[in-house]
């Protein structure tokens, strides 16, 4: 089976889909005390934090597709990027839902105060809201309709990822080790793009010079 062919995706995409659901399956099992798993003494907090982390992980995974593709030459990797991106959106929405429903009990006043008064929540909310147009325009139809503008819009994912990691960093009480690690990975993933963009620019400039000679 040729990587990137329809049969290849028909086999691998469902497997990836199921794999992406595993974190949720684990958390659901833990929430109901299945198989001896549990969410601990503060289940709302554990659920909230784990869903947030998985949202960030999927964002970083999505951002790692292009660098990985460039490095390996495996162009068929891009076929999975949309699924990873949508799963990031999915986990972030769940994270927000746990916050709004389980933690804040849909207390609109309290939630509104949090969004306005706590910078880290403002940032998180902004990240979530920015994901919405990306999720809506994730379909092939939308890609066709928007053309070049699709590329521009979806560059928002860089801003979203930065907002997400920053939201995490500002949320922790004192131990910034975890958010710092996420930030380093993000810096690496964004850095490779800067590198490739630079290389492309240099190549274009040298070609222009060759033509003009």
């Amino acid at each position: 089976m040729k990587p990137g062919s329809k049969p290849f995706y028909r086999l691998t995409k469902p497997i990836l889909f199921l794999a992406c659901l595993l974190p949720l399956a684990y958390l659901a099992a833990a929430a109901f005390g299945v198989a001896g798993f549990g969410l601990g003494a503060n289940p709302v907090e554990k659920l909230l934090h784990e869903l947030g982390r998985w949202g960030l992980k999927f964002l970083l995974l999505t951002l790692s597709v292009t660098p990985l593709r460039r490095w390996t030459g495996w162009n068929w990797l891009v076929g999975y990027r949309r699924m990873l991106g949508l799963f990031a959106f999915f986990y972030v929405v769940l994270h927000f839902t746990v916050y709004a429903v389980l933690d804040q009990g849909l207390d609109i006043h309290a939630i509104g105060e949090d969004i306005l008064k706590r910078p880290y929540i403002t940032l998180g909310m902004a990240g979530l809201l920015m994901l919405v147009p990306l999720a809506i325009t994730s379909t092939k139809g939308m890609m066709r309709r928007l053309g070049k503008r699709w590329q521009t819009l979806h560059r928002l994912v860089y801003v979203i990822a930065i907002a997400g990691v920053w939201h995490f960093y500002w949320q922790v009480k004192l131990d910034t080790l975890a958010p710092t690690l996420y930030a380093l990975v993000l810096a690496l993933l964004l850095g490779t793009r800067v590198y490739y963009a630079q290389m492309a620019r240099i190549r274009r400039q040298s070609q222009k010079r060759k033509i003009s000679k």
């Binding site: 109901f32 798993f37 289940p43 907090e45 309290a110 105060e113």
Partner: protein, 334 residues
Amino acid sequence: MGKLKTQDLGVPEFMLIKRPGDILPSEITAESVYLKRREFLKRAGLVSAGALVVHSSLAAADPAPKGPKLPGIQKSPLSTDEPANTWTDITTYNNYYEFGTGKEDPSLNAVDFNPEPWSVAVNGECDKPGEYAFEDILARHTLEERIYRLRCVEAWSMVIPWVGIPMASLLQRFAPNSNAKYVRFKTLYDPSRMPGQRRRTLDWPYVEGLTIEEAMHPLTLMAVGLYGRELPNQNGAPMRLIVPWKYGFKSIKAIVEISFTRKRPVGSWQQAIPSEYGFYANVNPEVDHPRWSQATERPIGAGLFASRKPTLMFNGYADQVASLYTGLDLRKNF
């Protein structure tokens, strides 16, 4: 009909009268299975993964408290009659950075900590300074059960059946003199026994302080036990401070030094982030933490679908302690 308390039955049980919203935690897993699973995970190196907490939430009864029983415990009218949190919750959800910064880290990493032998160095503005052995302290004071609310600055709370010595009677033994305006407490500093101290998350050793009036207040406790047993390592063995009307970080653990001072001590959290943690740290729903609200708190043990509770001024101990702070601007002096 009165509410049954832990001592009435001789076995830690929970109050039988349920209030709406009081979802009593039910933890199943037979103790032997529970311990085997934790041991397995520990050996498999999976335990610091935080997300893996092996206990089910579907059981009928929490595993019984463990450890040597403490003798001669008296009940106290200062105890609340609210239901206490389970042994499991109290001993597996801890902020004790000396053993790691995750909530489950202390219960996993403090297993091998040996709090014996232990002594406290007493010094400063007092007439009876010296090195006092822990056994001496235990032998000379009557132990009391104090069921107190504990409110963490992170906005969660528990009800904990401590066993301890009224701090006032302990401190009076050391005969503080008229220059003693404050009491400063210090935790053990030993990275070989406290692995979390190998990272400078806080400026070790942990330090906390109270005004002499706060230290002498009847509510202030030197806790040496929990649920009638010796204090587990992860809860601050062998002895720790409990100041129930303040945020939990004031209740310093594993105390090795008590000093009577003229100058106000600077606590470790105050030193780390002075804009967020102050000296007084009185529980106050009207003064938010710079990064989150203090108006409500999450009750531990109430389950996934429980709602937050409104936070009470001075953690519900206003009647007993508000007079200590008359005239003090509690927003400025947070």
